[in-house]
Amino acid sequence: MSLQAINEQLLRAVGVGVALFDIEARQLRFANDVFAAWFEEAEIGADLATLFPDLDTDALTETLATGRRFSAEVRFRKKRRTTVIAQVFTSATLGDERLIVLECQNISRIRELEAMIESYSTMVERNTREIQREKEQVEKLLLNIMPRAAYEEYKAFGAVAPSAMRA
């Protein structure tokens, strides 16, 4: 088995979506099964910008030219479920060919958990504000019926020692 065949088998076996594009023509040269399952319209020869219309191709070109990786995110709905895919583009050379390597990971669960934590935080913050408001009202009420010194003692120790007060 040639090295190229081994590499191709490895790319097919990994759990992330992998696709290779020609860096000049921006056409799909290879896609593993995970990538093909997510992006069903990705046939060999498909155009990168057509596959991902929201992709900032100018920024991609600029970033890859400096040898850095370019990150993006793509969302789509499949049977009422939102799938969020994180994309990382890097450039690579295979023999005398220059390619764009696109690595995709499904981060839907992470985004769902983030949404849940945000929802929960909002609830807790609202409750905290309400508790604070009620605390201030109770404080005002107590200061109406007892001297501040007695109130401070009550707040610090939970009880007030009886003492004679002059009216």
Binding site: K79, R81, R111, E112, L113, A115, M116, I117, E118
Partner: protein, 124 residues
């Protein structure tokens, strides 16, 4: 522990988040009521589920009847779909180790809102 509500008894948000995610998955997978969520944004749906489950279990969320009615008024929800939602929630709570008497408490709290959620037939 006496005085604990179900939310505290089952470990607060650290544990309840698993119930929320499992309930969310089961609702989307349901052929009966999944279609209600065809066009609902993921963030909005998770926000709703988080508050719904927390409120039912005594957590830091309040769902008044007016809010529930407004959220469901246009969906034309039937009694069958309401029963399906209850069954899915009961299965989810059971799968996460909730005691049967506590599941009954939660289902009782939902049942009290049936008339608020299910579309009422128009008076002729």
């Amino acid at each position: 522990m006496p005085g604990q509500n179900l939310y505290e008894k089952y470990g607060g948000f650290a544990q309840i988040n698993r119930i929320v995610m499992a309930f969310y998955d089961a609702l989307l997978d349901s052929d009966e009521i999944g279609p209600y969520f065809d066009d609902v944004d993921m963030v909005r749906l998770i926000d709703h589920q988080t508050k719904f489950v927390a409120a039912l279990m005594g957590g830091p969320a309040q769902f008044d009847d007016e809010h529930l009615h407004r959220a469901h008024a246009r969906l034309a929800i039937t009694d069958t779909h309401f029963d399906e939602m209850k069954a899915i929630l009961a299965e989810t709570l059971d799968a996460h180790g909730m005691a049967s008497e506590d599941i009954e408490t939660v289902l009782g709290a939902i049942e009290m809102r049936r008339r608020v959620v299910v579309a009422q037939p128009a008076m002729s």
